[in-house]
Amino acid sequence: MQKHQAKREKNMSKIKDDIIEKIIFLCGILSIVFVTLIFAFLLKEGISFFRESSFINFILGKFWYPSSTPPEFGILSLIVGSFIVTVGACAIAVPIGIMSAVYISEFAPKSIRDILKSLVELMAAVPSVVIGFVGMVTVAPLVRSLLDIPTGLTAFTGSLMLAFMAMPTIVTISEDAIRSVPWEYKEGALALGATKWQTIRRIVLKAAMPGIIGAIMLGIGRVIGETMAVMMITGNAAHIPSSIFEPVRTMTATIAAEMGETVKGGLHYRALFAIALVLFSITFLVNFIADMFLGKSKNK
């Protein structure tokens, strides 16, 4: 009798285990569900926009006048705006980021390594709206008076602030890549009489390159998707600038600034979803490439 009961309890606990494992599996595949759902949703609204306005005119159209009659929905100037800000931010963040990653992983005394890493990570914790605000009240006036231009809210100012926002991603992931280069590589070069710097430049950086490229791609992804800081600092002028010292408007800022004013289901509303679709595709691609490089660097 007792044996019977024990057996039944065991069965019960097996059923319980099974149920829990099913739930765990469902949670596991939930991320697939979400990505598909987000993509499908953007696609649905985006496609209904492209039924009324051609895709080519949308991408290559120079004018974004959503509320004039007839409205014009050309996002070329927004794409150019996002592109300029991103390239500018990378030009600053990539060299400095990689150099600090090398310093933290190879030169910094062990005792301060954790402190340096934590300080770099701290920057990632500062909310983008705070960075936008500080940029607006301190950096923008500085840029304006130093360069003697009509407004400090420019693509350059945006790039500068975004560079610091991309820095933590680039530094921490590059540092991981550099540190995971096998010891034997370094020992081999050092044993042959190479100096520490020669070893780092010719051996370590080469071996860590896939990881570093992955880090840069993730940094780029972060910059393209950045919204609040960009909206507050870059001046939001939807035109194609002739230099980086002019205001620009990015795709993200356009969505954030205009969503509140649209009529649900209207053409303008759907145009913003179409921009989101373009953004989604770009970041999907960038992160896919980043993941490929990071996967490569892990397999080594």
Binding site: I24, F25, S31, F34, F107, V120, V129, F164, G260
Partner: protein, 284 residues
């Protein structure tokens, strides 16, 4: 050009690298300094506990603090169990097959989607389609999906750091797989999981774009009564008062930024220190 010998060029290089590291670190120090210097004068008991007055130009930011806390904690309550279960699946059950690779790829891409796109998606699904309206619950769901990849990744790291021998010892005693995870793996991974959760709370407390159209309101003169209420939120409030309201007293804006910064940074610092502490304390 003078040809440097390798020894002195190494000295120069190490100096330049140190300089780059300082440039990478200094902005966060300056930003914190500027905000503390200009904002501390606004901080008072009234500022933290009173309603805004006079078109936000005086009074306090209490509803914004409560709003942010209610959105953020609802979001973490939704996302933490799901994320931990997903991490358990990936780390303990998943085989190296096509499905697992697709899951990992979607996690990477979920992490890369711009926050404003989440905002748009959340508006479309939770506010409009499911009819939650602009509310705490719509904002919390939006943020929880956004934070899912971060929770999964940190939880996976924590599970992964539990040595395989722990599992083998338990399984060898005839304990089932789930019981092994429940009683051996999870307790050992808990510090890492909680650290990740605190970092996530810090991160989403400062997010503005995802709640822009899903939860945040310009001004609500009372505290939220139900999850379906619109709320004021600290980051959105900072955005509004720094860009939309003319003649806003500077010290109130800086004070608001300071409160937000203290909330976010104190949690991040706790998490960072906890991580270093648990890493050093680990015996295996």
């Amino acid at each position: 050009m003078i040809k440097l010998n390798p020894k002195s060029s190494q000295k120069i290089v190490s100096f330049l690298l140190l300089l780059a590291t300082i440039i990478a670190i200094i902005p966060v120090v300056i930003i914190i300094f500027i905000i503390i210097k200009n904002g501390y004068s606004a901080i008072s008991w009234e500022f933290l506990t009173a309603l805004p007055k006079d078109g936000m130009r005086s009074g306090g930011i209490f509803p914004a603090i409560v709003g942010t806390l209610s959105i953020v904690f609802s979001a973490i309550l939704i996302t933490l169990p799901i994320g931990v279960c997903a991490a358990i699946y990936l780390n303990e059950y998943a085989k190296d097959n096509l499905l697992t690779r697709i899951i990992k790829l979607t996690i990477v891409n979920l992490a890369g989607i711009p926050s404003v796109v989440y905002g748009l998606f959340g508006f479309g699904i939770f506010v409009m389609f499911l009819g939650f309206g602009v509310s705490i619950i719509a904002g919390a769901f939006t943020l929880s999906i956004m934070e899912l990849p971060v929770i999964i990744t940190t939880a996976r790291g924590a599970l992964n750091s539990v040595p395989q021998s722990f599992r083998e010892a338990s399984l060898a005693l005839g304990v089932s797989r789930w019981q092994t995870i429940r009683h051996i793996v999870l307790p050992n991974a808990l510090p890492g999981i909680l650290t990740g959760a605190i970092l996530s709370i810090a991160r989403i407390s400062g997010e503005t774009a995802p709640i822009l159209f899903t939860a945040a309101a310009f001004y609500v003169p009372h505290l939220p009564q139900s999850p379906f209420d619109q709320v004021m939120a600290l980051p959105y409030h900072l955005y509004i008062i720094s860009t939309q309201i003319p003649n806003m007293p500077k010290n109130i804006i800086f004070g608001t930024a300071l409160v937000l910064l203290i909330m976010v940074l104190s949690m991040s610092i706790v998490a960072i220190i906890a991580r270093i502490y648990f890493r050093n304390r680990r015996k295996w």
